[in-house]
């Protein structure tokens, strides 16, 4: 059995770094508008709880919406590509090229089209999720062995059956690997989009507090963003633990 105090190690890791942070600021006498002490950030987190929550929701909605849309589109595209070599030859390179456009450059374009809306934020978050999931799903769908395919063929299984009974279940671990990447990157997408332009959200708060030298609140906003990504990541991890019990031999 694993030691039940195993969780103390990462906690100790975090605490040691926070102490180091605090120590550096005290020793070097860093002014608080440049870098605040950990205690001050915590105080700011508590004092501004309602302001932070108010800005968390729009970001969380955009991130989660983008997560769902982006991954769904990625899975659908992978499904199409695995069934049609021609579609794949035509459109996979398009996706690759599209993926090279810096997300920060894409944001203004979307804002011009959709305005300062939730939609444009969601699209940015979706785009940032799409490529890793598409690539992973394609690999997952293709990670079937030749004897598995022959088995299906001896049983006269149709293409749909091969997909549903073989390729799809086979790809689930690949899907979760991709979803773990997407869980953090969708939050980045939402925040980047809010930097370019939005009325509300953690990204807006981060930009405003930077320019106003409200450094404690800036750090608090960053902590909340990170917590949002962490919650999404843990949700994915839990879902995986629940759904994937099998192992390849």
């Amino acid at each position: 059995m694993k030691n039940r105090f195993e969780w103390l190690w990462p906690v100790a890791g975090f605490v040691s770094l926070i102490v180091l942070w605090w120590g550096l600021i005290v020793v070097r006498d860093v002014p608080k508008y440049i870098a605040p002490k950990p205690g001050a950030v915590w105080a700011s987190l508590v004092d501004n709880a309602s302001l932070l929550l108010d800005n968390l929701w729009p970001t969380a909605t955009a991130a989660l919406g983008g997560f769902i849309i982006g991954n769904l589109i990625a899975v659908i595209l992978a499904t199409i590509f695995v069934h049609s070599a021609r579609a794949r030859k035509m459109y996979f390179p398009v996706v690759v090229v599209f993926n090279t456009i810096p997300i920060i450059a894409l944001s203004p374009i979307l804002i011009l089209i959709f305005g300062l809306t939730l939609t444009s934020k969601m699209i940015v978050a979706a785009i940032i999720c799409l490529f890793p999931t598409l690539v992973n799903m394609l690999r997952g769908f293709e990670s079937v062995s030749s004897s598995e395919l022959e088995l299906m063929r001896v049983m006269s299984a149709s293409r749909t059956e091969v997909f549903l009974r073989l390729r799809l279940p086979r790809s689930v671990p690949f899907l979760f690997a991709a979803l773990k990447i997407a869980a953090t990157s969708c939050v980045i997408g939402a925040i980047v989009s809010e930097w370019i332009g939005a009325e509300k959200g953690l990204g807006v708060l981060i930009i405003q507090t930077t320019f106003d030298y409200r450094t404690e609140l800036l750090y608090a906003a960053i902590a909340v963003s990170s917590a949002l990504a962490l919650v999404l990541f843990m949700a994915v991890t839990l879902a995986e633990r629940f759904l994937v019990r099998w192992r390849t031999n």
Partner: protein, 259 residues
């Protein structure tokens, strides 16, 4: 209607490779009567797997004709009269033992065929895995996984069971036990079995007919009928008769090498 499960007439298979055409097998003439236990033996690369793939319509013959129950292989495959057991058990790792055995009844229009199936749970019992119905493949040993593969192959009550070195990766003790059970299952079901191996003792123990093959190019060297030497296809692994058959096969294979 013939009483043959298979009739191969002058079958040849040629693969196009970067080094030019490669003759995997040639001039194969073979009749397999219904209900027989046929063993194909030969050195690796002599086209045993290729021949099984032709029989099961996984691969078209480049030359000659292969008929299954007097019809085409494709027809037999669509009617689900064939089952295949591969060297690696090829179980779906996310499915339990019972769900793996059920797979053949869930695909390939099985329900439309209106054929009678075996009870999957009964098949799990037949291969001696009672009590492990809910285990996942990674929780089983290699021998147990191969048992599941056999149960899965039998669930559709196939007329023919094609087995490509199914016990090749197992230790000899497990292999002997599975051979005993395979013979028992063969007697109980009356299925025609075509079994590929490169083990002399496995061939001597299982086969009523042993087809000895040679490589480069892959071809049939000799066909040995063992009915007279193995009444009822039963033989004692420690007896004189068994050693006689094994050494005959060895001589044939050595001659194949020399040729």
């Amino acid at each position: 209607m013939t009483s043959n499960a298979f009739t191969l007439d002058d079958v040849g298979v040629t693969f196009e490779t970067p080094d030019g055409p490669l003759i995997a097998v040639q001039d194969v003439k073979m009749d397999v009567e219904k209900g027989r236990f046929v063993v194909l033996i030969g050195p690796s690369g002599c086209g045993k797997s290729t021949l099984l793939r032709v029989l099961s319509d996984l691969l078209p013959a480049s030359k000659g004709t292969a008929r299954v129950f007097g019809g085409s292989g494709a027809q037999a495959r669509k009617e689900r009269r064939l089952s295949f057991v591969f060297q690696d058990a090829t179980l779906l790792p996310w499915r339990s033992v019972l769900e793996n055995v059920r797979l053949p009844l869930q695909v390939g229009r099985w329900s439309r065929l209106k054929r009678e199936a075996n009870d999957p749970a009964e098949m799990v019992r037949l291969v001696g895995l009672e009590g492990r119905e809910n285990a996942l493949p990674h929780e089983l040993s290699g021998g147990q996984r191969q048992r599941v593969a056999i149960a899965r192959a039998l669930v559709t009550r196939p007329d023919v069971l094609l087995m490509d070195e199914p016990f090749g990766a197992l230790d000899e003790i497990t292999r002997d036990r599975l051979n005993d059970e395979l013979l028992r299952i063969w007697r109980e079901t009356g299925t025609t079995i075509v079994f590929v191996t490169h083990s002399l003792s496995e061939a001597a123990f299982l086969g009523q007919t042993v087809v000895v093959m040679a490589a480069k190019p892959g071809r049939i060297l000799d066909v040995i009928e063992l009915d007279a030497r193995k009444p009822g296809n039963e033989i004692d692994r420690t007896g004189e008769a068994f050693f006689g058959i094994t050494s005959d096969l060895r001589h044939l294979l050595e001659r194949a090498d020399a040729a």
